[in-house]
């Protein structure tokens, strides 16, 4: 019995230092005659008991702890909105506009499935046509409308795709912003130009 106790006492400080808990170490030394394991358990049980107002809470398993719901004070919210941290964090992270871009890219992709098939067949055929034939073909309202839809939707899809590629490979933030702006400007210019040309041909 005595031998066992000594062995355990030797173990106790090592265990306590592992846990880096001063309470564990002191209580282990106090109850040197008792087993070190017991002293550990005691220390663990005593610590939370000090903070507990209601000692019965742990024993009664069915007791429901009711917490009063506190509404967030508007004063606190406005305090948050005026804080520097809020302004620094706002607009960062995943909540910017990524989901909208993702959705537009998928929607334009779906619209482009039938448009691209129509386009591939008709335009490769028209590439060898004379100017008069091409002008007449584009002046026909159905062709003009489908062509306008195809160009505008394809450019929207292309600009998003190129923007994603630029964001992946251009690592310098300023250069990346300039590249994205240039791509968007070219896309807009081409779209407006093509639609203007189609209107001109149709009139």
């Amino acid at each position: 019995m005595n031998d066992k106790g000594k062995n355990r006492q030797d173990d106790a400080p090592a265990k306590a230092s592992e846990k880096t808990s001063a309470v564990d170490a002191s209580s282990a030394q106090k109850s040197a005659d008792d087993s070190a394991v017991d002293s550990h358990n005691e220390a663990r049980e005593k610590q939370p008991a000090n903070d507990h107002q209601d000692d019965d809470a742990g024993e009664d398993g069915n007791e429901v702890i009711k917490v009063e719901r506190t509404p967030t004070s508007p004063a606190l919210l406005s305090q948050l909105r005026h804080s520097n941290h809020y302004h620094q964090a706002r607009g960062l992270g995943a909540g910017r506009a990524g989901a909208a871009t993702f959705r537009v890219q998928r929607l334009t992709a779906m619209a482009l499935i039938p448009l691209a098939i129509w386009f591939a067949v008709s335009v490769v055929r028209m590439s060898t046509a004379s100017q008069a034939a091409a002008a007449a073909w584009l002046a026909w309202p159905v062709n003009a409308v489908i062509m306008a839809l195809f160009i505008v939707i394809a450019l929207r899809h292309a600009v998003i795709g190129l923007q994603i590629i630029l964001e992946d490979y251009v690592h310098h933030e300023g250069l990346r912003a300039v590249c994205v702006l240039v791509v968007k400007a070219i896309g807009l210019l081409l779209g407006v130009g093509a639609v203007a040309a189609l209107i001109h041909l149709a009139l």
Partner: protein, 124 residues
Amino acid sequence: MSRPLSPHLTWYKPQITSTLSILHRFTGIVLALGAVALSWWVAAVAIGGETYAGTAWLYTSIAGQIVLFGWTLALAFHLSNGIRHLFWDAGIGFDMPTVNRSGIAVLVMTALLTLAVWLIVLLA
């Protein structure tokens, strides 16, 4: 900062998954350039005269027709693989055997679509 940024293209052995993924981006860029050529063609038709003559000469030249063929190939691939991507977005076909099989299906579709377009163009 010089920490490594994704995608680490040079780190992986080429596989059908990664190859098709890279091709999807590459053909996307090719098609974006094609959109420039298309918009210019529509504008040239509207302008007419020498502008159209020059554009038509460029587009119907041998080099122009080869580019046009490459462009329909890119369109067929991007279209087929894009449909594959839309299925993935819907959560369909995301296990590896299906991904590999649909990748091969995309390549077959690309060849068939390109052939179909040029058959229609040449026969019509």
